[in-house]
């Protein structure tokens, strides 16, 4: 059997980049077909293909790292760089929406009544559910750190418990925010206030859901003994992502909910 004389990972040929690219094609062209021809089939195929690609690609990474031992220290360093760069790109994504919010709110136009919040907009009280949501996410930041320390200390039971608590808190945030969305006195169509509010908080909520799923996968892997006290990068990546989601919320809360009210 051939052995490599280096510590890097030469990946097996994989079909998932192709299927993922085609999924993107089908989802986007499917969106256009839905708009113009009123058929959702192409978009649905694209979505299913995207989910299949994500499941199998990430399943393969778990196999390569946990079962085949390919994630040596230099490889793990590369994965760390990759996750940091990805989160940085997401920071820039949210920066754009914050730019839009501040552009509209620092110099409100006459059409809005020359004031912020605009005339006729009844804002949400920042000291009610939004404050609870802040507490929930901050608490989840504590529990995910607790999970990490438990994992590093080899405490399997506490790692599982605190990771579960983190996911429950994330789910609680999502439910509270969904209720806020339903009961809000303004909609996404209510001028630039509604647009900036729902697009910024909406994308944030989507990221909370993604982060919760990432953490849930880590919980499943922790239960299945995939992580060791010295090697658990998948979980660290999930924790980094979760802290990022928490920080975005803090900026949203201070800017849109508090200053913008």
């Amino acid at each position: 059997m051939a052995h490599q004389a280096h510590a890097y990972h030469m990946v097996d040929p994989s079909p998932w980049p192709l299927t993922g690219a085609i999924a993107a094609l089908l989802m986007t062209s499917g969106l256009a077909v839905w708009f113009h021809q009123h058929s959702m089939i192409l978009m649905a195929i694209g979505t299913v293909l995207m989910l299949l690609t994500m499941y199998q690609w990430w399943r393969d990474i778990v196999r390569e790292g946990t079962f085949q031992g390919h994630h040596t220290p230099p490889v793990q360093k590369g994965l760390r760089y990759g996750m940091i760069l990805f989160i940085t790109s997401e920071v820039f994504f949210f920066l754009g929406f914050f730019w839009a919010f501040y552009h509209a709110s620092l110099a409100p136009t006459p059409e809005l009544g020359g004031c912020w919040p605009p005339t006729g907009i009844f804002t949400l009280d920042p000291l009610e559910v939004p404050l609870l949501n802040t507490a929930v996410l901050l608490a989840s930041g504590v529990t995910v750190t607790w999970a990490h320390h438990s994992m590093m200390g080899g405490d399997r039971k506490q790692a599982i418990q605190s990771l579960t608590m983190t996911i429950v808190l994330g789910f609680y945030f999502t439910v509270l925010q969904a209720m806020e969305y339903v009961d809000a006195p303004f909609t996404i169509g209510d001028g630039v206030y509604g647009a900036t509010f729902f697009v910024a908080t909406g994308f944030h909520g989507l990221h909370v859901m993604i982060g919760s799923i990432f953490l849930a996968v880590c919980l499943l892997r922790q239960i299945k003994h995939h992580f060791t006290s010295g090697h658990h990068f998948g979980f660290e990546a999930a924790a980094w992502y979760w802290h990022f989601v928490d920080v975005v919320w803090l900026f949203l809360y201070v800017s849109i909910y508090w200053w913008g009210s």
Partner: protein, 81 residues
Amino acid sequence: MNHLLKVPVLAQRAFSISARQLKNKVPDAQKIFQEANGLPVHIKGGVRDVLMYRATMALTIGGTFYSIYWLVYCAFPHSKA
């Protein structure tokens, strides 16, 4: 809201039982995926892998042709009968 305070206690009870019962199957998986059979990782797990790969590829190729069908359809004018 107060009933939520019971979550940590319940989680402790539930997970301390199930956590002990779950056997560590990682060494078995390591044996399967390190077997020198020349298979790439995406189908090295067995029949389930192959079936899922074939289903995914069928959707990929079928979907590509379906999107080209719509592209050709949209490229021509259609009378509103």
